[in-house]
Symmetry: C2
């Protein structure tokens, strides 16, 4: 199953035999005081730096989150979308918990966006999915509801099925345009949680055949040597069926782990990309 996203001029597909989709994660002021202050002053110049770094690192889509305190997030999202569209041609993932912000981003965007995100809560489904359907967008879906973030993979599958039913039957969104987030939890909080995430990924792949994405940095939250944890986690998740991640493309270690996983799962025919990347690094070192 392939999920096709697009900017005005470029298509990117998640899943099928395509390489793992790296969604660059840094265009987000969370936890960044200087960036937040700049956004409060209407200064979006930091976005250009972040976009350039994610593109240089190998991002294939970009996640855009403008959730800074005391800001008009909808206006910032509109301006950010337009700015990024002028800077690069990667498809965007519009990231907000606020409906109006998603609406503003979708209205400004010239392409097929990935909306981040909806849950299995009835109220969220009925607010966000009509928006996704109207704009012909795709959506990231989290299998949790009003009552719980379930630990059990089987319960996560149940909630995923509910989302599929509502999205396809009630709102006419094609199944391939629902990308699931299997809920990646910090291993530092409980060392059994990642196994549940891996089981969920395998279950969603086997039972629904859907594409999946997750926030790769969640897993290593609170632990030292986070890059090495992420670089082991992503190949494990890819072996279980993960087809995309929201991750920091500035990390050569993470990106190389993903490219190695592409090679090992037959998504890099003849190893051509792997060998080309090796030669590019050699040339960069020599010059």
């Amino acid at each position: 199953m392939e999920t096709v996203l697009s900017s005005a001029t470029r298509q990117v597909s998640i899943g099928g035999q395509n390489p793992f989709c790296i969604i660059g994660e840094r265009i987000n002021p969370t936890g960044r005081k200087v960036f937040q202050e700049q956004l409060r002053n209407g200064d979006l110049s930091r976005i250009e730096v972040d976009v350039a770094e994610q593109v240089a690192g190998g991002a294939m889509m970009l996640d855009v989150n403008m959730g800074a305190p005391l800001c008009d997030e909808a206006e910032l999202m509109t301006r950010a979308v337009t700015l990024i569209e002028s800077q690069c041609d990667l498809p965007l993932c519009l990231d907000s918990s606020i409906i109006e912000v998603l609406e503003a981003g979708l209205a400004a965007y010239h392409g097929k966006a990935l909306v981040n995100s909806v849950t299995a809560e009835d109220e969220r489904l009925d607010a966000i999915l009509p928006l996704v359907a109207r704009h012909g967008a795709a959506v990231i879906a989290l299998p949790n509801d009003e009552e719980e973030i379930p630990e059990e993979p089987a319960r996560r599958l149940e909630l995923a099925r509910k989302i599929v039913d509502v999205a396809t039957a009630r709102y006419g969104i094609p199944l391939e345009d629902v990308v699931f987030d299997p809920l990646a939890m910090p291993v530092g909080a409980d060392t059994t949680l990642v196994l549940r995430t891996l089981e969920t990924i395998a279950l969603l792949r086997d039972e629904l055949g859907v594409n999946m994405t997750l926030g790769a940095s969640n897993v290593s939250f609170g632990m030292p040597d986070r890059g090495a944890i992420g670089a082991a986690f992503l190949p494990m998740a890819i072996a279980s069926g993960l087809t995309s991640a929201i991750m920091d493309a500035r990390s050569a270690q993470l990106v190389q782990a993903v490219k190695a996983a592409d090679l090992l799962t037959d998504r890099d025919p003849w190893g051509a990309q792997w060998i080309a990347a090796h030669r590019a690094r050699q040339a960069a070192t020599a010059s």
Copy 2:
């Protein structure tokens, strides 16, 4: 299921909730001309260097192969076993295609060794398994026979079942003392082969519940940036059920990938080992 190996003074278990078992691979003259020349002259001093490096890197067992051209391999194996026993207390994996060499190594060794290896060929089974049984050793078993190295995971499972039957029913070797090698092939030869290996690992885990090991460096043979390929492959294989590998413990990248996989698969309770390793590296850098 746990496979327990031992030296004269130390036990190591493969599988169950134990950390992934790193079997150090360098005590082997294959492809090393100077080392081969030294062995021909009866000089075993290089072994001491290799053992020290594997131990320092985190090896939990050591693979010993004395297959150098124009040497008395059985005599070298006897001397190597005695030398290594005097130097460290790690259990040994005795590695040779020659029955007499395995016999000499087992006779010299004071502990429960892992014999590397037997195949599903009738002649090999009936030559090696009696030796394994008589010495109370464990054995690495490869699911290929006279006719083929099968590509299909289902056929590899069939041959694995044959080995299990012969080992347990005919020779009284406990199932936990048969450690399977799922046949790791070079991804550079055919980019579909690693997926077959991963499927085989999952199948042997689900159907037989056995422990498994493999030569980790095979997978990246012939490709550039081999460390990065191995560091992605091992977590994938561990997620599928691999419990051990014969690998070069000098590679910090490979060892860290294995330790991260231990953390992520709940084989490092509270992340205590991961955090301790981080602190040890910090202390080493600071001093």
